[in-house]
Symmetry: C2
Subunit: 295 residues, 2 copies
């Protein structure tokens, strides 16, 4: 059984204004993470700038970059410099008029280990992602690195047990989610509390159902709306969960934070031995999961 302990770090940050400023802060945080012993660093969703999906504007496509491109090269160099596996989140320009919300993974020698294009794309007031992001076409495929097989997903994917399960079935050893989720400041406090709790529950549910650790790195801070509404108050709460959904580390809701944790990779198999859920799946009776609705 796997008895490795994996030190990890999550960089929960606010927006610092532009790509260069944000990457400069990330470079500083990754240096701190590596100095603290981290071997895997997870960044938040679309860490290069503001969460621009609060409105629909064609000029925002200027933020997109090819992969490889300037930002991916900088992340690659950062991973190599500090000998960490680095998981970033970029606005990918694949072709003129074809863009994705793409997670990128660099191994600890700086090698590009792989990309994941966000499969489930949200669209609701303040999160107009369907305008910007073509749904991913790479499927739910984990990415192999020297520290393990990573099940990298992105934000809205977090609500889909199907995504987590497919990563687990493909041998993912960790589930990782760069996210950008927050409160509507004009919403009632009890509703906002329920939303954050539901988000934590959803991540923990994937850990339990699959017997895997879950890492989620979320943005922090209030970002104003270009449309003049209340904006989004990103709730942070970045977290590392063990394979029973237990909280190993959790960041706060109101400030940037470098969240450190140690994951015992051997616990996943221990947990799966006492709760062997994968053994008993009724794959003969799941066919209707491929339907939109059973009507």
């Amino acid at each position: 059984m796997n008895t490795r302990t994996l030190p990890v770090a999550l960089v929960q940050e606010r927006d610092h204004g532009d790509t260069d400023a944000n990457l400069a802060v990330i470079e500083q945080r990754v240096a701190e993470a590596a100095a603290a012993g981290a071997r895997l660093v997870l960044l938040q969703e679309l860490h290069n700038g503001a969460y621009f999906c609060q409105h629909e504007a064609v000029s925002e496509f200027d933020r997109a970059e090819p992969i490889p491109g300037p930002s991916s090269e900088r992340l690659s160099a950062l991973a190599a410099r500090h000998r960490v596996v680095l998981v970033g989140s970029l606005f990918e320009r694949r072709a003129p008029g074809l863009y994705h919300n793409t997670a990128v993974v660099f191994d600890s020698d700086g090698r590009f280990a792989g990309r994941y294009r966000k499969m489930h794309i949200p669209d609701d007031p303040g999160f107009y992602e369907k305008f910007y992001f073509t749904p991913g076409d790479l499927g739910f495929t984990p990415i192999d690195t020297t520290i393990g097989r990573l099940g990298v997903l992105v934000c809205w994917d977090q609500w889909y047990p199907e995504a987590a399960r497919l990563m687990a079935l493909a041998g993912a050893e960790l589930l990782l989610y760069p996210t950008a989720i927050g409160w509507d400041p004009s919403e009632a406090a009890d509703e906002n509390a329920r939303q954050r709790a539901a988000w934590l529950t959803s991540h923990a549910g994937h850990a339990v159902a699959n017997g895997l650790p879950v890492l989620s790195c979320n943005r922090i801070g209030l970002e104003p709306s270009p449309l003049g509404s209340a904006g989004i108050d990103f709730w942070g709460s970045s977290h590392v969960l063990g394979p029973q959904g237990e909280v190993l580390a959790m960041a706060g809701t109101d400030h940037p934070e470098l969240l450190l944790a140690e994951i015992d990779l051997g616990r996943s198999e221990s947990v799966r031995r006492i709760w062997p859920f994968l053994r008993d799946r009724r794959i003969d009776a799941y066919h209707d999961l491929l339907k939109r609705y059973r009507d």
Copy 2:
């Protein structure tokens, strides 16, 4: 939108020794539930007797009954007498040598509304269910009643997001789980705390992923092992959750309890409007959910 409020009751009980004694207590509790206004009553898994799956003994098959049969007739009469929809859990004798762990639903006029045969069957030390129960062959099909379409599942099913999703896709308005889960008294306290928390997380995760209320009725009390080991200390904690996984009511861990709650059935659609997860499922990319493993 559905604006109904549904008062529900869960009967969390210890084993009272034999079928007649257990059903007599259930009859009293259902009377109390109806007097308190409940229109739906959920019983715990295998409520007619001890949790006999702590060992493998052919004599235990004597507990099984056909459906319809004496216990189902008694539950039917009970539902009619108090005008409640009643969800029970019986050891079904389908044929000599063919038995199921079966949930039964009676409408408020006593009519047999339908059955669900437990699809996922566990087997681990103290829970030797694969010896007793043939895996269900009725699929994940909700049961229609006058108070709504019920997604009835049983215990081990609770760990499978697939089961909850299939019920939701078939139009279930509530997810209901009779359960029998507890602590090994010889296990470490921290592990036992994680197990109970993971169980609650799993139920809440289904609520969130599907935007549906979840009702889980669990056994309570220490039942000794026929094999001389420490037995099972059923942890109760029966609960009613709203469609964001929020706790509407929860029973304690150490005593029988009639748990009452009111469910706002209109909230499910409100929650699904702000978080339209069903809209964005990638059914084009879920095919491998039908595989045992993606290797």
